[in-house]
């Protein structure tokens, strides 16, 4: 992994098209503000649907609350975009950051878990009959979803406290968590 990480940081540094914009007075602060707005949109929409699956607002059909999901996806798209702006501007601060590695793991869990929901429960939830009680598997998926997204937020907030420090001469970790 070391060589790949170093290659990634070097290539981003060489080609980054956004660094200039991000280093203006408003670039980084505005991208951060948008990242927090996207976070709220994601948690509010996907979280509301997860809460519905878990039994909140029992009198509302599951599919009705699912209408908020596009706004969660909008929040996700905003955050992938602004997240990439950060990554492409200061690659070493993320590629060698163990909190970022963990954040990627939780992002993948969140994504795979959401796919699992559509694979297992699409027919039940979006059939011709309104469904009010989520099947047990969908409730488990909702619990995992809330946990995964909250963990993504925690890891994101922890990034600055795991800034990579310069490496010892021969780092032995599998994934680099220091700056070579």
């Amino acid at each position: 992994m070391h060589d790949f990480q170093i290659w990634l940081v070097t290539s981003i540094r060489l080609h980054s098209p956004v660094a200039k914009m991000m280093h203006t007075a408003w670039g980084w602060p505005m991208a951060e503000s948008l990242h927090f707005l996207g976070l709220s949109l994601l948690i509010g929409s996907i979280g509301a649907f997860d809460l519905r699956l878990l039994g909140v607002a029992k009198r509302v059909p599951l599919s009705a609350v699912h209408r908020f999901i596009p706004f969660g996806l909008l929040g996700f798209a905003i955050n992938i975009t602004t997240g990439l702006l950060f990554l492409l501007t200061e690659p070493d601060q993320y590629i060698y950051n163990r909190s970022f590695h963990l954040k990627l793991v939780f992002l993948m869990i969140g994504g795979l878990n959401a796919s699992l929901f559509y694979l297992t429960s699409w027919k039940t939830v979006f059939g011709s009959v309104a469904v009010y009680k989520a099947p047990a598997r969908a409730r488990i998926i909702a619990g995992i979803s809330l946990t995964a997204w909250i963990s993504v937020i925690i890891c994101g907030r922890m990034l600055t406290f795991f800034r990579p420090i310069p490496c010892e001469p021969h780092p032995t970790q599998i994934v680099l968590t220091c700056s070579p």
Partner: protein, 169 residues
């Protein structure tokens, strides 16, 4: 004011929040503040979107079911916010933008209360004495979304606009 800031920055709680190497101290409080924001601003936005016509199959009244979680997010942030304030009182209180943020959050929560009282499907507002026209309610929802966006932006900009980090700075 200065004496108060000096005293606050000498308290044990302040020392723990800013000085402890534990992830449960400053980093943990920041994380809680972000999670609470997600639920308070996010669920409020979901209610606003419903008022504006998204998810029309969800009865308005039923959106009230998300209020306990919204308020949980708010209280998480009230507590974590006070702790962050005890950690860096000078940094916040000497920055005019901090008061702007507080005002915006306050206004956003007033709007949450006003809108949630009008969440009804038969024009008999739950708990409110005066029903509101649908057009007026939509304006409140737009104001609410604007308030949250401004509050979040102001909050984020606090990291860039402070002039004094501590009382001796």
């Amino acid at each position: 004011m200065h004496a108060f800031l000096v005293w606050l920055e000498s308290t044990e709680l302040n020392q723990w929040i800013v000085g402890s190497p534990s992830l449960w101290a400053f980093p943990g409080i920041l994380a809680v503040h972000a999670i609470g924001m997600g639920f308070a601003a996010g669920l409020s936005a979901a209610i606003d979107l419903r008022v504006l016509g998204i998810a029309p199959e969800v009865p308005m009244r039923e959106m009230r079911r998300f209020l306990p979680m919204l308020w949980t997010g708010f209280w998480l942030n009230a507590v974590s916010g006070v702790l962050l304030l005890i950690g860096y009182p000078t940094k916040a209180l000497t920055n005019p933008l901090f008061y702007v943020k507080l005002f915006l959050v306050g206004l956003a929560m007033v709007l949450v209360r006003r809108i949630s009282r009008q969440l009804t499907d038969d024009h008999t507002p739950a708990g409110a004495t005066t029903p509101m026209s649908a057009a007026r309610l939509r304006w409140l929802a737009i104001a609410s979304l604007t308030c949250w966006a401004a509050a979040i932006t102001a909050g984020r900009l606090l990291a860039y606009t402070y002039t004094h980090l501590t009382a001796f700075d």
